[in-house]
């Protein structure tokens, strides 16, 4: 296999040519490069990989992105349906198979070391070129808040080209010029008003070449830009949505597993004698790093797994948290992996400057999706069939094919709804373990469900990180900011698991949210140091921004305080000089919250402004003193997503992202002893509960031209806005998360 570096060099040239193709490229992408993976049954047709017309269900749209709560299935379908002129209530959507045709064109562009908001045309083309890596490696990935950026043009083109093919078929049938035909509610309308259903035209249309298309102007949109009823809302309100854990197959057995708590290590041996004696136990399977028990029901499998006596091997990690954090701090003594911003000279202090210095620390975190990890697998004469919620179906297909010793084309992946993802479902382990259990029971479908304890203690964690910040202020403004961060690289680890090797070079993810903070500061440097740790870490909602947002925006608050400036005005002034959309979201939260810079006794307010996944978000949080305990009262968030494709879903993501971030900021911490996680279940890893959530107002701005991320950008401002509010209330500057270690929250 060619190395990624080689392919990146090759595709760079390729990409430059492709860019010149403009919109025509979209149609080419849709119909040409990868074979259409849809295999229609007799009487059904596909017009491209995203539009299928069946006799039974009419038009079926394919949204090959993981629906983990962010509403992607709805808006992806709306992009297709808008140009295809479907009535929304008739829209049926499936996830579809794992396939090259569904690769993510946008994801790899995110690794380019630029700031995003000031990207040059050259860097834009480099990003597009890198997107071809996604194609070469068939990266069908839902992540990096890329789905809408990826699908915004492609899916409208796919819908429009299918529409024109259907009109072409109708023109032939009626013997009229295509220009006389209209489309409406899933039909082609003849000049005399006769409506021809798409299903009557599909077979002929499929043989016609893709037509030239022009995308409709936004002013003509009927579906996009309005809050649509989500396609998954009724199933999810009636218990009928099928999550991975709900898959039921004829003859299916239930399994659970127990993996070495000392992460990454194997077993010296195990004794399953007692477990095998338990009525209803079918088999005990050796998974290398642990065991699985197959039984008549999941509970019995969990009980029997506990009854297996296992001699665990030891893991080679630092013995305790002090050792782990020391190892992270050691990275500061190494050469920086990146210096992605180095404006001015941070070593030169202007006359009269006040210097501010601070060190911040954040803990490891778990995703703790509500649905514990699980997957269902069957090995039979056809090969391997997998049913699971996942963010990476083609990667799961290929890696599990290796596990089973099969060619990839003998693996079928059925992607279900997922009970939360946040990055956790972008891993392979749950599918690989299910594959191994299925290999032990050929012909029997087996569902492997992890206990909550196994889930919490075998995650790929958000890494702990340390920041050393130094800054200077003059005359009420920031003149110097020098940020250093030490963190183990989750991107290198995760890409290694996905593709067998990872991209070298500067790790953008480690310093995102620092180097690309849209602030005008004359001397501004950011350096990232990668720590040498092998504890399993991975992508956690907003990734590097989840810690760097806290570091940056807490420290900016400290600088504002040192400058005797209002923290919101201090930010607004720096943002306005750098990038207008950044200043706009800050102005919006100022107005929404009625920010005056002063608060009554017993009330504190904090602000934070973060730019992530190309979306600027500002958040103000208000806390109150309840007899010495801190209560979250209200929050205001403003974001600029470019084009608000579904305002209701965007609002839900901003609220959800904020609550996810608050939950971590206030309560969550994963610790390790001898390489094993100490927290076992929700009582030790307590997410934010209903009564603790503030009232939240969201404003969505559309000041940018591009469509940008929605699923993650709500998270980074949560921790700093809250910590800054606590400072405003109490005068206590908290530089270590979770905050509960420093203050009492109202519960």
């Amino acid at each position: 296999m060619a190395s990624i570096g080689k392919i990146a060099r090759r595709t760079f040239l390729f990409g430059s040519v492709a860019i010149a193709g403009g919109v025509a490229l979209g149609a080419w992408y849709v119909s040409r490069p990868a074979p259409n993976p849809l295999k229609p049954q007799a009487g059904d047709t596909t017009l491209n990989p995203f539009v299928m017309i069946t006799q039974e269900e009419g038009v079926v749209l394919v949204a090959p992105r993981a629906e983990m709560g962010q509403g992607v299935r709805t808006t992806w379908a709306a992009l297709l349906a808008e140009e295809l002129d479907m009535a929304w209530e008739d829209v049926k959507v499936i996830h579809g198979p794992a396939a090259a045709a569904y690769y993510n064109t946008t994801l790899m562009a995110g690794v380019i070391p630029n700031r995003g908001y000031d990207r040059s045309a050259f860097q834009e083309s480099l990003g597009d070129a890198l997107s071809h890596i996604g194609k070469v490696f068939e990266l069908q990935v839902t992540g990096g808040s890329t789905s809408m950026r990826d699908g915004y043009e492609r899916m409208r083109v796919a819908g429009a080209s299918a529409r024109e093919m259907l009109k072409g078929a109708a023109a032939e049938k009626l013997g009229v010029n295509i220009s006389l035909l209209k489309t409406e509610n899933g039909t082609v309308i003849a000049p005399d008003g006769t409506a021809l259903p798409y299903s009557d035209l599909a077979e002929r249309a499929a043989d016609l070449p893709p037509q030239e298309i022009v995308l409709r102007d936004r002013s003509e949109w009927k579906l996009l830009g309005t809050p649509l009823p989500r396609v998954d809302m009724v199933p999810k309100s009636t218990g009928t949505a099928e999550f991975g854990i709900d898959v039921r197959r004829p003859g299916m057995k239930f399994a659970s597993l127990k993996i070495n708590p000392h992460l990454g290590a194997g077993m010296n041996g195990f004794d399953a004698t007692e477990a095998r004696k338990m009525p209803g136990v079918i088999d005990v399977v050796d998974l290398g790093r642990g065991i699985a028990v197959v039984a008549d029901n999941t509970w019995l499998a969990m009980q029997a797994a506990e009854a297996v006596e296992i001699d665990w091997a030891a893991a080679e990690h630092p013995a305790d948290m002090a050792g782990i954090m020391d190892r992270i701090a050691d990275a500061f003594a190494t050469e920086p992996n990146s210096t992605m911003r180095d404006d001015g000279d941070v070593d030169v202090l202007p006359d009269g400057a006040t210097v501010v210095e601070a060190e911040y620390t954040v803990p490891f975190l778990s995703h703790a999706t509500m649905e514990p990890m699980n997957a269902t697998a069957l090995i039979d004469g056809k090969g391997l069939t997998l049913w699971c919620g996942n963010q990476i179906p083609t990667i799961i297909r290929d890696r599990c094919a290796e596990t089973a010793g099969l060619d990839s084309d003998r693996v079928e992946v059925h992607t279900t709804y997922m009970g939360g993802g946040f990055g956790r479902r972008g891993e392979i382990d749950f599918s690989q373990y299910a594959t191994m259990v299925a290999m032990a029971l050929p012909g029997t479908p087996v569902q492997v469900t992890w206990s909550r304890e196994e889930d919490l203690t075998h995650d790929f964690y958000r890494p702990g990180a340390i920041a050393r910040m130094r800054g200077a202020v003059n005359s009420g403004q920031a003149s110097v900011l020098d940020a250093q961060i030490a963190v183990p690289s989750c991107a290198q680890q995760a890409l290694g698991r996905w593709m067998g090797s990872s991209l070298g070079g500067p790790d953008q993810v480690a310093v995102e949210g620092l180097h690309n903070a849209p602030y005008a500061i004359p001397s501004f440097r950011t350096r990232g140091y990668l720590a040498d740790l092998t504890l399993p870490i991975g992508f956690w909602r907003s990734v590097g921004n989840s810690h760097n947002g806290f570091f940056m925006e807490s420290f900016i608050d400290e600088m504002a305080h040192a400058a005797a400036a209002d923290p919101l005005a201090f930010r607004l002034e720096m943002a306005a000089r750098e990038w207008e959309p950044g200043a706009a979201v800050l102005s919006a939260v100022k107005e929404m919250s009625g920010w005056t810079g002063t608060t009554p006794e017993g009330v504190g307010r904090g602000v934070a402004f973060c730019y992530s996944f190309e979306t600027p978000v500002a958040t103000v949080i208000e806390v109150t003193d309840e007899d010495g305990a801190i209560r979250l009262n209200r929050a205001w968030t403003a974001c600029d997503v470019g084009v608000a494709l579904d305002p209701s879903i965007i609002e839900a993501q901003m609220i959800g992202g904020l609550i996810y971030g608050l939950s971590a900021a206030m309560n969550e911490e994963i610790t390790f002893t001898d390489g094993a996680v100490d927290q076992q279940n929700f009582p030790d890893y307590e997410p934010l509960r209903h009564h603790m959530a503030p009232r939240i107002e969201v404003q969505i701005l559309e000041g940018k031209s591009e469509v940008t991320g929605v699923g993650e950008p709500g998270t980074p401002p949560a921790a700093p806005a809250l910590a800054n509010a606590i400072f405003d209330l109490t005068g206590q500057r908290i530089r270590t998360l979770p905050l509960r270690k420093s203050v009492d929250f109202w519960i």
């Binding site: 983990m68 709560g69 509403g71 809050p227 009823p229 989500r230 998954d232 809302m233 009724v234 199933p235 999810k236 309100s237 009636t238 218990g239 009928t240 949505a241 099928e242 999550f243 854990i245 709900d246 039921r248 239930f254 009525p279 008549d296 029901n297 999941t298 509970w299 019995l300 969990m302 703790a368 999706t369 509500m370 649905e371 514990p372 709804y417 997922m418 009970g419 939360g420 993802g421 946040f422 206990s451 909550r452 209701s648 879903i649 839900a652 609220i655 959800g656 992202g657 609550i659 996810y660 939950s663 279940n681 929700f682 009582p683 997410p687 509960r689 209903h690 009564h691 959530a693 939240i696």
Partner: protein, 153 residues
């Protein structure tokens, strides 16, 4: 030995050991998968069902201890015949990932049966045992208020 239980108005004979939690009886023996496993220790509320109208965590009730008629999310309403509460959930577009929502709806239904017009504090009290990682709490609150209003007529 088979145990008889009544679920959503239907009597089932379940041939499982008496200590199997109701949650797994529903999910793995009766294929009523709307009730979810979240933690197994009554800390998340995803497995909430009603026994004689009372909201209980089905992970903590063994098959032998079932003391009355069980109602699960499947018994509350169906996609073609939503209950008032489920309709409010749809109207407010509450669910994100949706995994916790069966439990949320069962808990909210028990709340409304007890307190037809709950205050925000009542909702805080009743709903704090039901975790949601997606952060749907504000829309849950709005949906409960709106269902209460509809039920009042």
């Amino acid at each position: 030995m088979a145990t008889e239980i009544s679920v959503n108005g239907t009597t089932h004979s379940v041939d499982l050991p008496e200590d199997v939690p109701l949650l797994w009886v529903l999910r793995d023996a009766l294929d009523l998968t709307g009730t979810k496993y979240g933690c197994g220790v009554a800390a998340c509320g995803a497995c909430t069902v009603h026994i004689d109208g009372e909201a209980v965590r089905s992970c903590q009730v063994s098959l032998a201890d079932v003391w009355g008629d069980i109602t699960t999310i499947e018994g509350v309403g169906t996609p073609d015949a939503l209950s008032v509460l489920q309709q409010a959930w749809v109207d407010h577009q509450v669910a994100q990932c949706g995994y916790c929502q069966s439990g949320q709806i069962m808990q909210a239904a028990a709340l409304l049966a007890e307190i037809p017009a709950p205050t925000d504090d009542d909702i805080d009290q009743a709903m704090q045992g039901n975790l949601c990682r997606c952060g749907t709490y504000p829309r849950i609150r709005a949906a409960i208020h709106s269902a209460a209003k509809t039920m009042e007529g």
